[in-house]
């Protein structure tokens, strides 16, 4: 792995967290504790609030109640969260490389070159292709490259395995394992089995 730089070690802790859309609560009374260097898999049926929980953790939605604390986050160091939702933010008329360059520009580039990141996710040969021509799985791979070019200690991934082929899922598991090994933290909403070290599982919606 070329990405040798020291990351902040961040622990995620929530206390009595309730999240939802508007005034409708979806997941309530969540007290999570995810230490640096580990992952949390979110499971549960469709519509149970996995995506909403990830958006709330990312600070994109206000929690209905409770608190979210990222211990060890340096406020001077800029944003420390990557959030990957259902929408890939891939636009036609930009090439794959231009798209990745734009993401690196706005998120702050790391020390991994763009071409290396594309090679790593298996898109090296499509660098100059219009991003609109990518297949759904290739778009997801491009999103994974976004995580690589701007190192951040917290990854919040919403069904990252969707549309990926078997090799893509292996790649995802490898990237996650690397991330965790370097002291990163990941919360992943998924319906797949991802074999990862240091993983806890939270199943939403089975307490009703």
């Amino acid at each position: 792995m070329t990405q040798g730089q020291v990351q902040q070690r961040i622990n995620l802790r929530t206390q009595g967290l309730a999240c939802g859309r508007g005034d409708t609560p979806l997941a309530t009374d969540l007290s999570l504790s995810v230490p640096a260097g580990s992952a949390l898999l979110l499971r549960g049926p469709n519509g149970v609030g996995k995506s909403t929980l990830l958006l709330t953790l990312a600070g994109l939605l206000h929690p209905l109640s409770g608190s979210i604390v990222f211990e060890g986050a340096d406020p001077e160091a800029g944003p420390f969260i990557h959030h990957c939702g259902h929408r890939n933010a891939v636009r036609s008329r930009l090439t794959v490389l231009q798209t990745l360059k734009f993401w690196a520009d706005i998120n702050g580039p790391g020390d991994l070159s763009l071409a290396t990141a594309l090679d790593r996710v298996g898109l090296g040969r499509t660098a100059d292709l219009d991003a609109a021509y990518l297949s759904a799985g290739q778009e997801r791979r491009l999103v994974l490259a976004r995580l690589l070019v701007s190192p951040r200690p917290v990854w919040l991934l919403d069904e990252p395995g969707a549309a990926l082929d078997a090799a893509g899922r292996d790649l995802l598991a490898t990237l996650l394992a690397d991330h965790i090994e370097r002291g990163g933290l990941a919360v992943i909403a998924t319906h797949d089995d991802i074999a990862l070290p240091q993983t806890a599982t939270l199943t939403l919606g089975d307490r009703a």
């Binding site: 990312a58 600070g59 929408r87 231009q98 734009f102 706005i106 998120n107 702050g108």
Partner: protein, 221 residues
């Protein structure tokens, strides 16, 4: 700073790569201006006297037309979420977008304005003043437009709402813009109108990125 340039580069690429959008706005601008002589008749003196107003109205309408693509596509494809987690403030994202919006809508209109000047029988000095007043005034239209687009971005099908919201804000720009071209009481008033126009643009450019950033952050929740 690299983020600011990154947003600017992306916006310019998206506008010019397809090519069609910029050309459409320019054609719209010319057609609005070209229709007027048909509507009011071929009286050259009358046309020349109302030409500054027509050019300003055409520019105003053409710029309103481009508003909806300022933030809405970004919201729909998820880029807006990325911006909120990006290592740059939303205000600088908006500032980059305002600059790109001006470069891709206002500047092509100004470059195309000689066509309208010809159709509307403007004389040379008036046309020169028109170009200066458009250069000074359109940044304010771009800034107000970004503000309106930011307020309405969270509303589904809010595309037509932004022009209605910002039209009152743009009235002073039109008043001073036309006043700077066609002085009613002597050249002195024209130059002070020009100064007012510049002041409006500076103020709008300085304030709108922050107002629009606030509107986007609130609208997303």
């Amino acid at each position: 700073m690299s983020g600011f340039l990154g947003v600017l580069r992306r916006e310019l690429r998206l506008s010019f790569a397809g090519g069609g959008e910029v050309l459409t706005l320019v054609l719209f601008f010319i057609i609005v201006g070209a229709i007027v002589p048909f509507a009011i008749g071929p009286d050259r003196a009358l046309l020349a006297s109302i030409a500054p107003g027509i050019i300003w109205i055409a520019a105003f309408l053409a710029m309103l037309l481009g508003l909806d693509r300022l933030f809405r596509p970004d919201r729909e494809d998820g880029t807006l979420v990325l911006y909120r987690l990006a290592d740059m403030s939303m205000a600088s994202v908006v500032a980059a977008k305002v600059i790109a919006h001006w470069l891709t809508t206002a500047l092509p209109l100004i470059i195309a304005s000689p066509f309208l000047a010809m159709i509307l029988a403007m004389d040379g000095p008036t046309f020169a003043r028109t170009v200066v007043s458009l250069l000074l005034g359109t940044p304010a239209l771009a800034a107000f437009g970004a503000f309106g687009a930011a307020i309405t971005v969270a509303i589904r099908r809010g595309g037509l709402l932004a022009p209605i919201l910002i039209a009152p804000l743009c009235v002073p720009v039109l008043i001073f813009g036309v006043g700077a071209i066609a002085p009613l009481g002597g050249p002195d008033q024209a130059s002070s109108a020009m100064l007012f126009l510049a002041a409006l643009s500076l103020m709008a450019l300085a304030l709108s990125p922050f107002a629009a950033a606030l509107a986007i952050d609130w609208g997303e929740e």
